[in-house]
């Protein structure tokens, strides 16, 4: 059970049950949708970027504990960061959940996802929101006003 406990750490379960930054921020000007057709997880990430800084970010969607907690903790981790920093943080996060490098203090709370490396089939769950955020920040486009 120890590998499982490492995967489903208390903080991950907490963010799964009570996701932070859920919904679309009022002033969001970027959005992208992502899905994992294999498991049916769907996420939409919204962001507001001002002078190269992610000033607000939120998400909607449904998914497993790992993908929901990852989206929630991602929103907390990227708010207030410059767009380039967010890209670097995603690279680091990706390396850690795939086991390519060790976690460090630079990841902050995101280190709770270190257990994912023992579950290769769940890497996609952990990175879905991040891929979607990257799409929002790169291509983005305006948030629909309908």
């Amino acid at each position: 059970m120890s590998e499982l406990r490492e995967l489903y750490q208390t903080m991950i379960l907490d963010h799964y049950k009570r996701p932070r930054n859920r919904g679309r921020p009022e002033a969001a000007d970027r959005r992208a949708a992502g899905d994992n057709p294999l498991c049916g997880d769907k996420v939409t990430v919204f962001a507001r970027v001002k002078d190269g800084v992610v000033t607000d970010v939120g998400f909607e969607g449904s998914g497993c504990a790992i993908s929901t907690a990852s989206a929630s903790l991602m929103t907390e981790s990227v708010k207030g960061r410059r767009v380039e920093e967010v890209a670097k943080l995603f690279d680091r996060f990706h390396e850690v959940v795939t086991g390519a490098s060790e976690p460090g203090s630079d990841l902050g709370k995101l280190t709770v996802f270190v257990g994912v490396r023992e579950f290769p089939m769940r890497v996609k769950c952990a990175t879905l929101a991040w891929h979607t955020l990257r799409a929002a920040l790169e291509g983005g486009g305006a948030v629909s006003t309908e």
Binding site: M1, C39, G40, D41, S62, C64, A65, R122, C125
Partner: protein
């Protein structure tokens, strides 16, 4: 050859026939509850394939030498075994395909393109596997025809009276699953066929989940087309079959063209081979067919009536055990079900259920089960699914229930 239908079913002995069940999974005995996705293989199937390649292999319908003769005979015998399995009148009505999906595509492309035109309708049900949705949807798009969908109840039962109302002079084909892969519902195929035939409408039955679970008799069902996959029947992957009434096959144009399916070829004109060869272009999966034949021998020797009773007992046991866990809700509560226990755990996504059970050495499926429209209908993004095979035992379901209690505990 079949065991007497009332003889006791010795599951421990059956399990010894399956090498993979002897291995452990994550330090525990493997509990395989994903037979609806694909069945494990008995030694007899593995041996038949090894034997063919080791001793008898050559291309079929070609050589004048002994190896080709033997290969051809084994291939033809496999076709005869499929005929017997389905209760078909004539082995010429059995076409080998890659799987059930390809068999449906064959019917859609050949029979469908011939008979479905602008304004016509193809009628399916809401609980179909994508394999019995998408080929019809694409045919309808191509032909400017309309795909109609007969509804199911919240329990996952086909609403027969609605289906009846939806059959019209425009209906050119009804296609439905014999058993739902996602919920286990057994559809009332005979009744559907009676309703359709009253309007002269042919019926295709997707038997992928039925053929491994109980005896099937296509003549008693009265349908026009019946398809299944070998790998779900304890046979190898890459082989499946289509049964169709000879008069349909005679009238239908070829699906693919090339070698073996021709009678004579010149640059100006080609004439088609006789059925079923007209639908089997190129060298077929010879070893697959021989392996499938061995699988049919295997389930026939055990007796499909006895397999059905064994799985029914397990299904009832599993339903009871899961019903005792307050956080677990069974999805699909049709009165007639076979082999499938779909469920959700309150507050836990099916994927997390699957990961935690995997750590316990229990293999289940989590997801939409290639039935997204059905999941939408039930208002669920996904379910967890435990499905039974002839080698499962009560203990497997007890381990499942214990695993689910751990899931609940972990997410509390």
């Amino acid at each position: 050859m079949s065991a007497r239908p009332d003889a006791p079913y010795d599951v421990e002995r059956v399990r010894k026939d399956f090498p993979i069940l002897q291995r452990s999974m994550r330090g525990k005995p493997l509990v395989y509850l994903d037979t609806a996705a694909s069945a494990q293989k008995p030694q007899a199937v593995i041996d038949a394939i090894v034997d063919l390649y080791s001793k008898h292999y050559a291309n079929i319908h070609r050589g004048l030498y002994e190896l080709s003769e033997t290969s051809t005979r084994l291939f033809d015998e496999a076709r005869e075994k499929v005929r017997r399995l389905l209760g078909a009148a004539d082995a010429r009505e059995i076409v080998f395909t890659r799987n059930a999906t390809e068999a449906i595509n064959l019917v859609a492309a050949s029979f469908g393109r011939t008979h479905v035109g602008p304004g016509d309708e193809v009628l399916i049900t809401h609980l179909e596997h994508h394999a019995n949705i998408v080929p019809w949807q694409q045919l309808c798009l191509e032909k400017d025809a309309r795909l109609r969908v007969a509804p199911v109840s919240d329990a996952g039962e086909l609403r027969l009276e609605e289906l009846e109302r939806m059959i019209s002079p425009r209906t050119k084909l009804v296609a439905l699953a014999h058993v739902s892969n996602a919920l286990g519902t057994i559809n009332p195929v005979r009744e559907v066929v009676a309703l359709a035939r009253a309007h002269g409408v042919p019926v295709l039955v997707d038997g992928a989940q039925a053929v491994p679970r109980f005896p099937v008799d296509v003549r008693a069902l009265g349908c026009d087309f019946y398809v299944f996959s070998g790998h779900k029947l304890y046979g190898p992957t890459g082989i499946g079959a289509l049964w169709a009434r000879a008069e349909h096959l005679e009238a239908m144009p070829p699906y693919q063209t090339g070698g073996d399916m021709i009678s004579s070829v010149s640059f100006e004109k080609t004439t088609w081979n006789k059925i079923p060869h007209k639908f089997e272009a190129g060298t077929p999966d010879i070893a697959g067919a021989v392996g499938l034949g061995a699988a049919i021998d295997y389930v026939s020797a055990l007796g499909l009536e006895r397999i059905a009773r064994h799985e029914d007992d397990l299904l009832a046991h599993g339903t009871r055990l899961l019903g005792e866990i307050p956080e677990v809700r069974i999805v699909g509560t049709a009165r007639r079900k076979a082999g499938v226990l779909s469920f959700v755990v309150e507050g836990v996504h099916p994927h997390d259920v699957g990961t935690i059970l995997d750590q316990e050495g229990i293999a289940i499926r989590a997801g939409h089960h290639c039935a997204q429209p059905l999941m939408d209908r039930l208002g669920l993004p996904a379910t967890a699914r435990a499905s039974l095979g002839l080698y499962n035992r009560s203990e497997d379901l007890e381990r499942l229930a214990a695993g689910l209690r751990k899931v609940v505990e972990m997410f509390r």
